[in-house]
Point group: C2
Chain length 275, copies 2
């Protein structure tokens, strides 16, 4: 079986690294020449190809931003692809991708979102066990073809992932709470400290807690700008839900309602009972 | 040398565990009988004693909340302590402790704050390397006696900590940014998700990012209520600095100013250049 990976960054590169044994050949496709060179040198793919190589592929993984996935799906629909081609996209929002997938290849597509990643990007950041034990969300699976479903599930099992099926709309809302809003919060923490005159002295005291809370602020701004714009409405809902809790806490602090604040924190402790 | 540890929780217990070889005897003191039993069973201290045992101690570590530290200092000043007793407090705010330390024992006190901890509490949470490679902030060191300074520094070196000297006022402000405000933010994230109808489905998608951002929301509400109340003004300043960044981000998202949002995130990336 031949697999093409479009996008040789952290996600695509890690997929290649983990799946070298599974496929007979993995072809890497990326506009960025440096990424292509790195992918070969790091052994993430067997060779570098071009978009038309999808025609000889059995599986294609689209590990690129949502807008580029939508473009790629349009372009794939114009290729002379194998009838049973399985297209797996790793887009971080799912509704717009599914809505914009050409009908002629809708059965080929298995719309997926791996809940995995690090704050680093690019092929150099690829790691073989990025996906291991992580959740793979598969959206609107009933719209995918039988052969494609089976193939994708086999691949996700090979990656040792936990598969969760979900409606695309629901996924996009959940992703806003679990991932997109926390990124905005982490960047807000980073910037609030950087605005302080004595920022160097402040960060000199950083321990594990602060490092955790500011880690997401290392993320790639270009990539995240696109994710935020794709999920604007859900993101704003999640930011507002967060803001409302912060406002409550601030008011209790201002009014010195310490016991009430303690109850509010006790409620927060419950998160870890369901997670 | 005899050391007393007042408070056998995570901080005091971990101190005992790490310093068993350094002292001839470590006496544990705690109101909580279960903590005393655990501390003995876990080998955190050599024996359990009472407050009056500070009289035969060369070093006493106050690993208790700020208000209790202030009370303990009053009580220690009434004991018949050794002239060169070194009192080390681990209070998480420093100005009120120093201000309220009786003059008669001010030279004995080395006001310190270890930038270390986990989201867990109690003697069961104690770990021998909690302090290793972490920052120990020592405040207003010029007010401590020469013998006490030397003893405390020797102890912190034995713990393999990085010592930073700081003015108490400055410390309290920094701690609000690096620790207290991020706790409020983490609890706000946890509570905002818990308020959602489909919270179980949301947290099912949690990956490393969300786990990091919500980890501090596991912290002990009773303990943190006290810390927040001790540092109210600085905490509110830090929360407001954070809120102002969040507001900016929200407005850019609402107005779809994606390039401006990207620049704002790029600024956040700089945090990790100075940390």
């Amino acid at each position: 079986m031949v697999c093409s990976i479009v996008g040789l960054g952290l996600m695509g590169g890690s997929f290649g690294l983990a799946m070298r044994d599974y496929f007979d050949e993995i072809i890497g496709i990326d506009h960025n020449k440096h990424h292509c060179e790195d992918a070969i040198n790091l052994g993430l793919v067997d060779k570098i190809g071009e978009f038309k190589d999808i025609e000889k592929s059995d599986v294609v993984v689209l590990a690129i931003p949502v807008k580029s996935i939508i473009n790629s799906l349009q372009n794939i629909s114009k290729l002379n692809i194998k009838k049973d081609l399985t297209i797996i996209d790793f887009g971080s929002t799912k509704e717009s991708i599914i809505k914009n997938c050409p009908n002629s290849i809708r059965k080929n597509l298995v719309a997926s979102h791996p809940m995995a990643g690090t704050e680093y990007s690019g092929p150099q950041a690829a790691i073989a066990d990025l996906y291991k034990n992580k959740v793979m969300v598969v959206c609107n699976i009933e719209e995918s073809g039988k052969i494609q479903r089976k193939r994708a599930i086999d691949i996700f099992n090979k990656l040792q992932m936990h598969i969760k099926y979900m409606d695309a709309k629901e996924h996009d809302r959940h992703a806003a709470f679990i991932s997109h809003m926390p990124h905005i919060v982490s960047f807000s923490i980073a910037n609030s400290v950087l605005k302080q005159e004595d920022k160097e002295h402040i960060v000199a005291l950083a321990a594990g807690g602060f490092k955790d809370m500011s880690r997401l602020a290392k993320s790639n701004p270009h990539m995240w700008k696109d994710i935020f714009s794709e999920n604007k409405k859900n993101l704003l809902d999640a930011v507002e839900a967060f803001e409302s809790e912060l406002k409550k806490a601030k008011e209790m602090i201002e009014k010195e309602e310490w016991d009430k604040l303690q109850e509010w924190m006790k409620m927060g402790n419950n998160l870890h009972k369901i997670m």
